[in-house]
Subunit: 287 residues, 2 copies
């Protein structure tokens, strides 16, 4: 496995790979890799001839007062993790390498970025979409892998790829959870032992929501109230609880077919997100 | 020469071209081709193994009340023109092919799009940059060719390619003029015989500006006044006259090194643009 830090070195390495006709898989990450990232890498190793993992804590997707400075950075551990899983190339650029001059060009996705996480993180998705387009252009992968944990990001990226005719496929992989149900996240490291226990309320509330739907409840407001009550019991401070169309992200009043139940909750100072997908036509798909 | 109308057909044709390692040149146009486009095509034929011309009157770069409906469309004449010059592929998509659903994703370049033509055409450049990214992604050229006639567009596209790490080169070709100096433009077709004569004031004023600079005048305001007087004599209605840095497009008070003198003028109902580049370190380059 190779580790490179410059765009020039990426081009140099990948030119040879492309010339022999190998398919390239990309897993874009901000590092602090965990089993969630691991599942994306495994999917890439299975689906492509050559796998690139990018490790870049992208400053343009953090807002003022967010955790850019304290976001965990552990490049050596991360590269060892990648190597174990059969990654071929790690690209870990500096901020100066990715943004050598003032970034004047932004990729913006309207509507889909306005609700959910976008409502309280106004420039977050513009940073995500812009850095993804940059990474797609640098790596030129055949397939890029993202996690369903960031459900809104997944919908935004998919729409962007379609709207801009980007020449790659997007593969969205299911959420990976700890044994007790907490969704894997690099930000789980921030949790104290007490907060770690309280953080279980996110998935616990989503599981109860899923049961209510299975029992016939279809009214979004009622389902949201149920989730709110459970999270309140564990003193989580709710950013949002939303039931939306999984593609357009438009709020649903009634769950009739496919629905995304998504939430963001502060547990102490740490903001966590989680979600489930409901598919009434294929109830085994409530995951 | 092949003419195709769908993205699928472009992919099908270019897959074979790319597989044999040919370099691809792209000349994106809105049709109504003239000798200005011809010079771009000739540069592409000279510089690349395989040349694609796109002909697409892009609705998203026209504002309300602009000339989207009356913009000249003459596909047969245009394809014959391309064939004569040795083009390999013409891609002439419909608006539905390029925008099959509501376009939610936009590529925006800040600052460079705010002055000059951008001041009175607020969403114009967002339409241009977005359709260019789409065409770049569909065609995946090695080099794309644009004209210096649209000087602001050229600066915006160059910055966008750099900011987004787009994997292609941009080649900007000099303005092509009629024998009497009028810059070639598809919109010249709109001019009545009287307007056609009056339209000469654009280049006439720029030539006088160039002479004043050669004679030692460096103050942008004085140069702009000279241009304004000449255009006023021919009853042109001035949209803007600006002297700016050719890359950042920031207004200059004094011409010290490189400068772009750009203007937009209404001759009757037709809006025309023209510009000259000044390079004091290399005075032969005042073109």
């Amino acid at each position: 496995m190779q580790v490179v830090y410059t765009i020039k070195d990426v081009h140099h390495t990948l030119r040879k790979i492309r010339r022999v006709g190998k398919t390239i898989g990309l897993v874009p990450t901000m590092g602090a890799l965990h089993a969630g990232h691991g599942s994306l890498i495994e999917a890439a190793v299975k689906g492509c001839d050559y796998v690139v993992v990018t490790i870049f804590v992208n400053p343009t997707q953090f807002g003022p007062g967010e955790d850019l400075e304290k976001y965990p950075r552990m490049l050596e551990t991360d590269t060892a993790f990648c190597k174990d899983l059969g990654v071929d190339l790690v690209f870990a650029p500096s901020a100066d390498e990715m943004y050598p001059e003032e970034q004047l060009t932004w990729v913006e996705v309207e509507k889909l970025t306005e609700g959910l996480c976008g409502a309280n993180r106004p420039r977050h998705f513009r940073g995500v979409t812009t850095v993804c387009v940059k990474l797609f252009n640098i790596i030129q992968p055949d397939i890029a892998y993202f996690g369903q944990k960031d459900a809104q990001q997944a919908a935004v990226i998919r729409r962007m790829v379609s709207d801009l005719n980007l020449p790659l496929q997007i593969c969205i992989c299911p959420i990976v959870r700890e044994a007790d149900g907490l969704a894997m996240s690099s930000r789980n490291q921030y949790l104290s032992s007490d907060e770690r226990k309280r953080a279980l309320c996110l998935y616990k509330s989503l599981k109860v929501c899923r049961e209510k739907v299975t029992d016939g409840q279809r009214a979004a407001n009622t389902l949201i109230d149920t989730i709110r009550d459970i999270i309140g019991q564990d003193q989580g401070q709710i950013d949002y609880i939303s039931i939306v169309d999984p593609e357009t992200l438009e709020p649903l009043k009634t769950v009739t077919d496919r629905a995304l139940v998504a939430l963001a909750v502060h547990i102490g100072p740490t903001r966590l997100i989680d979600n489930i997908l409901i598919d009434l036509k294929n109830s085994s798909k409530i995951v």
